[in-house]
């Protein structure tokens, strides 16, 4: 099985870089987009195995992106994990209804992020690279 390709959609360059470093260390191949329209174009071009999607985006927010992905036959099968600073209480249900596989609230714990990615990609028994996390308080 080849390296899995993940498309990261986030308008914050710091967040893109952080996810880049963290996920590369876990042997994923990464593609990036910083707005809604580009994310659809990049998804079409690269056909990633997974999309990590922020909700607050320029040029079509995350919900619009989910809508467009679902409306496109070839893209509708790509699993999406929403990672957003928005309130879980108000945005999670909406994101899941729009077709996201999971909703994670920023700041996302590294262990949680990696485990959800592996679960959504259907990977098992893979040990993540060393992980430090935020305390549970």
């Amino acid at each position: 099985m080849g390296t899995k390709k993940i498309l990261i959609v986030d308008d914050d360059p710091d967040m893109r870089l952080a996810l880049h470093v963290r996920l590369k260390a876990n042997n994923y191949e990464l593609i990036f987009a910083s707005d809604g329209i580009t994310s659809i174009a990049e998804a079409r071009k690269h056909m990633p195995d997974l999309i990590i999607l922020d909700l607050g985006l320029p040029a079509g927010d995350g919900f619009r992106v989910l809508e467009l992905l679902k409306a496109n036959d070839s893209l509708s099968l790509i699993p999406v994990i929403v990672v957003s600073a928005r309130d879980r209480n108000t945005s999670m249900d909406r994101a899941l209804k729009a077709g996201a596989k999971a909703f994670l609230q920023k700041p996302v714990h590294n262990t949680e992020l990696l485990s959800v990615i592996r679960q959504v990609l259907g990977e098992r028994n893979q040990t993540p690279a060393a992980v430090h996390d935020l305390g549970s308080v």
Binding site: L19, R86, K101, A102, N110, Q119, H132, L134
Partner: protein, 527 residues
């Protein structure tokens, strides 16, 4: 431009009283007051609905309404119009009550001085205007503050996320090796990020409380698990301060009917505070036992040997933004939101919270939480079914993951949806979907007690299989679902001495069956 006279509505059925007042108004400058006189409450309400009235003079004994109800009706009909009640000499107490109902003032009939009347009216109007304005400003300020807090806490999350991400990247050596000093300093950064994170969470929580959006998901859950979790989580912080943190939990403590996440949240706040206000060599202890006052509740206690709280402060300690002013022990104090949040959370789960303290000796925070009672949940349905040979069954739905382990994140996200679907499958008020029973691991279990007449567990099981088997969300999420039922054929109503006896037997049998399901799952799944 000619100023419009004050529109006065007089509601008075006594012709003599009305005439006296009218004569007083006639002495005023022409045009400064325009009097409308009505005899009945119903007429007054219709007139007020048209608008344009500046002030109402209201007699409290009308043919179609009497006493405080006159004030209530007038106030409801036109809440924004000031009101003065007219009352007899012996009714002053009633008039005072009327002011609580929204009247601005009262005038005692027979004692109204003609020169004082216009002044009383103008003052009432002015007072009412100022009060309305103050209320409006207060509401706007509260709303603005809540929106501001919510916005700020969201905006703070993004930079905090970036700090957290890069600190952990450095700590995990993803950007090269670190020397011990660098490691130590990064650990300090991470600890502070933690602190900031919990402050932001508190701010958001408070805005949720204010907006009435606090979510609480009650289930059957273990208080001792929550205590163990909290003690483990905060043991490091206690040890670092030279404080002994321990727990003492009564054996065989029953489960509580509460939200496990919220209980942990409350415990963390209380224990964290206790550690904060206790000096080195002190002790913090978490205890749980059955309530002596009410056997339906458990009592949770967090006690410390800290600096204590003065009696004046124990009254105010649960207020929002309250902070102890000058404790040398507290260090960084935080926002003063923790106890306020705790109180809201405890009350929303049907419990109570209070504090007892002796300055210089220590403090005890006590929380009560309702005990989970299976019989309370199923008794109403059992009582509704009147036939003696009612077939009762326990329907069990297991939700697992095709990939093996059902992660907490996926579980949390889908169990709500599955629960909704199951609820829709229920046939009548004779089927009871039990709340989440608090299991973790490879599968989530849902239990339904079916007391359905003639339909029973078999039909319900079939319906659930059809519904869940074709649900798009369930399929897409890669969940596996299996549903089966067990008949409680040994328990029959006519074999029981009383309804109470019947409920007890059903409850015990169901509890046993559920325990069997849970333990068989644990063994077979190997988790």
């Amino acid at each position: 431009m000619k100023e419009r006279g004050l529109q006065v509505l007089l509601v008075e059925d006594n012709a003599g009283d009305a005439r006296l007042l009218r004569e007083m108004f006639d002495k005023e400058i022409p045009g400064s007051f325009e009097l409308t006189h009505l005899l009945r409450m119903s007429e007054a309400v219709t007139h007020l609905a048209k608008g344009g009235v500046d002030i109402v003079l209201l007699d409290m004994g009308l043919p179609d309404e009497h006493g405080l109800d006159t004030v209530r009706r007038a106030h409801t009909a036109a809440p924004s119009v000031p009101l003065i009640v007219l009352t007899g000499l012996d009714d002053e107490a009633l008039a005072a009550e009327a002011m609580k109902e929204g009247a601005q003032d009262y005038l005692i009939k027979g004692q109204i001085e003609s020169r004082a009347l216009p002044r009383a009216l103008r003052h009432a109007i002015e007072r009412h205007r100022m009060q309305t304005e103050t209320d409006l400003i207060r509401t706007q300020q509260m709303q603005f503050k809540d929106e501001f807090l919510s916005h700020v806490s969201h905006e703070l999350r993004s930079p905090l996320t970036a700090i957290y991400q890069f600190v952990t990247i450095l700590q995990d050596r993803l950007a090269g090796e670190l020397n011990p000093q660098q490691q130590e300093y990064l650990e300090i950064v991470r600890r502070n990020v933690n602190q900031l994170q919990s402050m932001i969470d508190d701010l958001l929580e408070v805005t949720r409380v204010q907006a009435g959006k606090l979510t609480i998901a009650l289930e059957c859950t273990s208080l001792s698990d929550a205590i163990t979790y909290t003690v483990n989580t905060l043991q490091g912080a206690a040890t670092a301060k030279g404080i002994t943190l321990s727990s003492d939990i009564e054996r065989r403590l029953p489960s509580v009917y509460a939200d496990p996440t919220r209980i942990r949240q409350i415990l963390i706040i209380l224990v964290d505070n206790a550690i904060k206000f206790t000096a080195a060599n002190g002790a913090v202890k978490v205890q749980a036992h059955l309530s002596e006052q009410d056997p339906n509740f458990l009592v949770l206690e967090v006690s410390d040997s800290g600096c204590g709280i003065s009696p004046q402060m124990t009254e105010r300690i649960f207020e929002r933004l309250f902070r102890v002013s000058d404790s040398p022990l507290a260090g960084r104090q935080g926002l003063g939101l923790g106890l306020y949040i705790s109180k809201e959370l405890v009350m929303r789960q049907g419990g109570q919270i209070w504090v007892k303290s002796v300055p210089g000796q220590g403090t005890v925070f006590s929380v009560t939480l309702p005990i989970f009672s299976l019989s309370n949940l199923i008794a109403p349905a059992l009582q509704k079914e009147t036939r003696t040979e009612t077939p009762i069954s326990l329907v069990v739905t297991k939700v697992g993951s095709r990939t093996g382990q059902l992660s907490d994140a996926v579980r949390a996200e889908h169990s709500h949806g599955v629960r909704d679907l199951l609820q829709r499958c229920l046939h009548s008020d004779l089927d009871v979907l039990l709340p989440k029973m608090g299991f973790t691991g490879a599968a989530e279990l849902f239990f339904i007690v079916a007391i359905a007449d003639g339909i029973g567990g078999e039909a319900l099981t079939k319906r659930i299989r059809e519904q869940l088997g074709s649900d798009e969300h369930v399929l897409q999420a890669g969940l596996t679902v299996s549903t089966s039922y067990r008949l409680l054929d040994a328990v029959k109503r006519n074999g029981c001495e009383s309804m109470e006896d019947f409920v007890t037997k059903v409850t015990t049998t169901i509890q046993d069956l559920m325990n069997e399901e849970i333990s068989s799952r644990t063994v077979s799944d190997g988790y």
